[in-house]
Structures are given as C-alpha cells and as structure tokens.
C-alpha cells in the first residue's frame, strides 16, 4: 500500500521577490540615506509652498538683499523676493523636469530596446539609430533646440508650459540611448528562455509575450537607469538654465537661481550656495539610491 504523504512543506512561508530586494537594499547604508533624503527633498519642494505662504515672485523692494532672519530664513534677493520660497518653487520645477524627462527617456529607451531585442529584423536599423544618437554632440544640440523652438512652443502652449514641454522633450530625446542598449541586451537573453517558448507554444501573441513575460523581467535594469536618468536630467536642466537658455528669468529653477546669484557673487556669496547645494544633494542622493538599487536588484549579489 502506498501511503499518501503530505507534500513537503517549505520551512519558511514564501517570500515575495520584492521583500528580498528590500532586505538587500536596507544593508546598503548609503542607498538608504540617499532614498530618505530624496523623498524628503521631493516632499519639501512640493508640500513646502503650502506651509510657507510667501509668494516666490512677490517683490518687496524695501526688504531687498537681506541676510538670513526669521522672516526670511535664506535671506532675500536683489528685488526683495524671499529666497526660501524661491528655492521651493525652483525645486518643484527642477524635480518635475527631472522626473518627467526621465519618464520620457525611459519610455523611448525601453520601446526601442524591446523592439530591437525582440524583432530580429528591426535590430540592425534601430541599433544604428542608437549609435547615431550617441555620436551626436548632445549639449550643443540641446542648446540649438532650446534656441530654435522656444518661440513657437511658448506661443502655442503659453510661456511657462511651452518651455517646460520643450525642455522635457529635448532632454528626453537626447538621453534614451543607454536605456535602449541595456534593455536590448536583456531582451535578447530573455527571449531565448524556456518560459517564452512555452508562452509562444500555447499561442500567445507577440504583444502578450512582450507585455506579460518580457517586460516584468527587464524591470530591474530599467529601474536603475530611471534613477540615474533623474540625476542627469536635473543636472542638464540646471545647466541649460545656467547658460541662460532654460526657463524665463522670472520663473525660478535651481539652475536659474544659481545663475542669477553669480552676478552678486562678491557681495552675497551665500546666495550661490543654497541652490547649488540643493542640486548637488538631490543628485547625490539619487545616485546613491541608484547604486543601492543596482545591488539590491541583482540576484547574484542578493544571494550572498
């Protein structure tokens, strides 16, 4: 008689993959601090203006060029505008540009990467296109694009929204190439695995295989390049503003604040310091976050 034994029970309850990722992520102290710092910065620039009621563009000419005080913790600028309010408004713009441009670059990069990796016929042309974009001198081209499309877009969408769209789109279409390359490499490897073959043999369409079986598996490199994308987008936007080709002068961003402050470098050097520190801290925290994510999402490291 064969005895019916209970199927073997795992010793521990099953753990989801993301719990493992979180455990590994926690051990990377720099990444943890970076993540917390980034969340704090994002919360401060988006919710801060609700708590700090001063209008960032409100001019109070009698209170101009003041040092730090309780009324103005970061002082005021040459027109008496409150620097704390301007820092928060500028941060909201810079961070929004960073995140939106990253999303656009990520979408373009994953799209091109998946098409190139999955469809053999598209691989050659799409990768040539990627190489072509990598060969373009990007900062000069960005500057040219800023100059050329500023007028038509700001007349079509209004000044601020037009420039926002312009900056996001230009940064997005000049920074998707690394993501595309990474995603293509991963898709090439995943597409040969058995579960894709199994899905195909039960008659799944290409669209379904891509969205349900391949996309979830390329998520981790995409997430890592997302964090690095935010960092580089914020730096690029600030660089454009710093060169005077970003947002209009009365519209604060961190790069613009830094640029405006360099005129008063001799008298009020501290005004340069705050926006610069904000940019650097944000980018540093995002970079550490990406570093930790890369380790946490790599199963070879996680097992150790």
């Amino acid at each position: 008689m064969t005895e019916i034994t209970a199927p073997p029970q795992p010793a521990r309850p099953p753990r989801s993959q993301w719990l493992d990722v979180w455990d590994q992520f926690k051990t990377h102290r720099g990444a943890l601090i970076g993540g917390i710092l980034f969340i704090l910065i994002v919360v401060a620039v988006y919710l801060g203006p609700y708590l700090w009621g001063i209008d960032p563009t409100g001019i109070d000419i009698r209170a101009r060029n003041q040092g730090p005080s309780w009324a103005h913790p970061f002082g005021t600028d040459q027109l008496g505008r409150d620097m704390l309010a301007r820092m928060m408004a500028g941060g909201a713009t810079s961070v929004s540009v960073g995140i939106t441009a990253m999303l656009l670059a990520l979408f373009l990069g994953s799209f091109v990467g998946i098409l190139a990796g999955y469809f053999r016929r598209l691989d050659g042309p799409l990768m040539r296109l990627t190489d072509l974009f990598l060969a373009l001198p990007l900062l000069p081209l960005l500057l040219v694009m800023m100059l050329l499309f500023r007028e038509p877009l700001s007349s079509a969408f209004g000044l601020e929204r037009g420039i926002f769209i312009l900056i996001v789109v230009s940064i997005g279409i000049t920074s998707w190439m690394p993501t595309a390359r990474i995603v293509r490499g991963d898709v090439l490897a995943i597409k040969e695995r058995e579960f894709v073959l199994a899905a195909r043999s039960i008659g799944a369409t290409d669209t379904r295989i891509i969205t349900r079986h391949i996309l979830p598996n390329v998520l981790s490199p995409v997430m890592v390049s997302a964090t690095l994308g935010i960092a580089s987008a914020i730096i690029t936007e600030s660089a454009l503003s710093f060169l005077g080709l970003g947002f209009p002068p009365d519209f604060p961003t961190w790069g613009r604040l830094l640029f405006d402050a360099t005129d008063y470098l001799q008298q009020y050097p501290e005004r340069v310091f705050w926006p610069g520190l904000a940019i650097s801290l944000t980018v540093l925290s995002v970079n550490y976050l990406g570093d930790g994510l890369r380790d946490a999402l790599d199963p070879r490291i996680r097992k150790r």
């Binding site: 190489d131 072509l132 060969a135 373009l136 001198p137 900062l139 000069p140 081209l141 500057l143 040219v144 694009m145 100059l147 050329l148 499309f149 007028e151 038509p152 960092a231 730096i235 600030s238 660089a239 710093f242 060169l243 080709l245 790069g255 830094l258 640029f259 360099t262 470098l265 001799q266 050097p269 340069v272 310091f273 610069g276 520190l277 940019i279 650097s280 801290l281 980018v283 540093l284 970079n287 550490y288 570093d291």
Partner: protein, 335 residues
C-alpha cells in the same frame, strides 16, 4: 584588424553625412533672422540683397551642398595651403561666419589653443590622479580609503561644474584672493613670472574639470581592477612566488588598463568640444564659449560647423577606441 578599420571608416562616412544633414535641417527651422540687427530704416529691397549676400536666397538643398563642398573640399585645401605655402584654394569661398564675416575655421584655430590648454591639462591631471586612486581602492576593497574614494567620486559625479566652479571662485578668489576669477586669454607666457601668472589662472578651471573626470575614471579603474583581481591567473602568479607589487602592477594592472584606455580615448572629443559650462564660468575664451556666442547671435554657419566638428571627433574617437580595444586585447576579434 585592418579590414575592420576600413569597414568602420567607410561606415563612418554615411553616419557623418546623416549627422550633418540633421544639424542642417535643425538649423533650417531656425526662426531667428540674421537680419534682425539691421536698422529698420534700411529699405526692404536692400535687406533682401544683404540676405542674398549671406547666401540665404538659394533653396535649402543648394545651400546644404555648398556647405558640404566648402567644408570637405575647400577647407582642407586651405589647410594644405597654410602648411605648405601653396595656393590651391585661392579665390574659393570658405565657410564664412555671419557674426564676424571672417572664415569660421580661422576663428576656430584662434580659439582652440585656450581650450586645449585648459581642458587638456585637466584631462592629464585627472588621469594622473584617478589611476592610482582606482588601483589602490580596488586592491583594498571596502577599506576606509575605498569608502572615501567612493564618496569623493560620488560627489564628483553629483556636483555640477556650474556649482563647483562658482564655489571655488567664492573660496579662492573672493575670500582668500589667491587666484584670479577670470581667465585672461591675452596673457602671453614669455618668462618665469608670466608663467606663474598663467599657472595661477589655470588652477581653478583645471581643478573643477579634473574633479569631474577623476570621479568617472577612478570608478572605472576600480571596477576594472576588481574584475581582474579574482582571476585565476592572479592566483597562479602569487603561487609562483611573485612579489605582491609585481602581481598587482605588472599582471593585474596591464589587463585592467585595456578597458580604461578605451574610456580615456572616448573622452578625448570632450577636450576639443571644450567644457562649455566651465569655460562660461571662468570666462575662458575657448571653443565652448564660441559656440554659446554663436548660438545667441544666430550665427548659423558657425553653429553648424562647430557642431559638426564635434560630431566628427566623437565618431573618430569611437572608432579609435574600438580599434585600440582590439589591439590591446588579443581575445577580441572583429572578423
């Protein structure tokens, strides 16, 4: 190897032609009018004549073709003329800047030394600093030196040059008064004293640029060393009884340098391109500032030529990096 090089070179030609077309078309949409600065009292028919004098009257394909001929056929002839004293290009029309009405290449040649001096020195300084840091960080992985190196290079990645540049100006020029904040390009080095002045004005831009490049290179060197330190041949070398110095500096370093050398080659176009932002911060009168000025003044031939030169350099050094990789690493075969 030779066939690979030739194949890549022939492939580079259509790439470059396409890039020049992209740049040309982008500039073609420019809403800016080069006649915008001309006084309103000038009658419209005169304006039209001035426009034609700039070569704007013809259709776009003709102008693109003219630019191609000027850039690829006439400018090399001018170069040969200047080198050998011949007169091949006499009477031919060169690429003329709208701003200064002088040939674009002459201005580029005037500006290039400043950029090469500052950015090239920064690159050399960065290589000299970054390689030892990378080697030692990898050799003592997770030591305090490695942790500090990681942090410094993270900072180097994260602090943009328009902040670090302004910061060193505040510290060293405004507060301490050690170095001048503006780079004087008319300064000529004739004797020891003027050399010291040149050195003092170069320190800050070089420092800012070198921090950035060091951050990237040292990370790369470290990763490359780490890849090699755990290889079997290292254990073999140690087992043979070779000294630790020979193992690391002769065996591991030589293999780790292969990818690093190609990365260094890939960074060279950036030297010529000039650090646009750093040049702007320190008012270095180089190629980067020339480009910014040309963009703001709507000087399309200048912008087109400069951007295209950058593209040529990028494509060329990509090719050189690939070939170098194949020469240095016998495992790589491109056939």
């Amino acid at each position: 190897m030779l066939t690979f090089t030739i194949r890549r070179l022939t492939l580079a030609v259509p790439t470059l032609l396409f890039i020049s077309l992209v740049i040309f078309l982008l500039l073609e949409f420019a809403p800016g009018d080069p006649m915008a600065q001309v006084p309103l009292t000038v009658p419209p028919d005169v304006k039209e004549k001035m426009r034609e004098a700039l070569g704007l009257g013809q259709p776009a394909p003709v102008r693109f073709w003219k630019w191609l001929v000027q850039f690829f056929w006439i400018e090399p002839q001018v170069l040969i003329d200047n080198l050998l004293g011949t007169s091949l290009s006499a009477g031919d029309l060169r690429v003329i800047s709208w701003q200064t009405r002088s040939p674009v290449m002459d201005i580029v040649v005037q500006r290039l030394p400043q950029t090469l001096w500052v950015v090239g020195t920064a690159y050399l300084v960065a290589i000299v600093i970054a390689l030892p840091i990378g080697i030692y960080s990898a050799y003592r992985q997770y030591s305090w030196f490695d942790q500090a190196g990681t942090f410094v290079s993270m900072v180097g990645f994260s602090v943009p040059p328009f902040f670090s540049g302004v910061l060193v100006i505040v510290i060293f020029s405004v507060n301490l008064g050690w170095f001048p904040s503006i780079y004087d390009t008319t300064h000529k080095v004739t004797d020891w004293d003027s050399f010291v002045i040149q050195l003092r004005q170069m320190i800050m831009p070089v420092m800012v640029l070198a921090l950035q490049i060091t951050a990237q290179l040292s990370r790369f060197m470290r990763a490359s060393m780490l890849d090699n330190l755990n290889q079997d041949y290292v254990r073999t070398a140690r087992a043979k009884g070779l000294g630790e110095y020979t193992v690391v500096m002769a065996h591991v370093l030589r293999n780790s340098m292969i990818p690093v050398v190609t990365v260094i080659a890939l960074g060279i176009p950036a030297i010529f391109g000039g650090a646009i932002i750093t040049e702007q911060v320190f008012k270095v009168n180089g190629i980067g500032q020339l480009l910014i000025g040309a963009i703001q003044a709507n000087d399309l031939p200048m912008v087109q030529t400069l951007t295209f030169i950058f593209a040529v350099l990028i494509v060329l050094f990509n090719l050189i990096a690939d070939v170098l990789y194949g020469i240095l690493d016998p495992r790589i075969r491109y056939d």
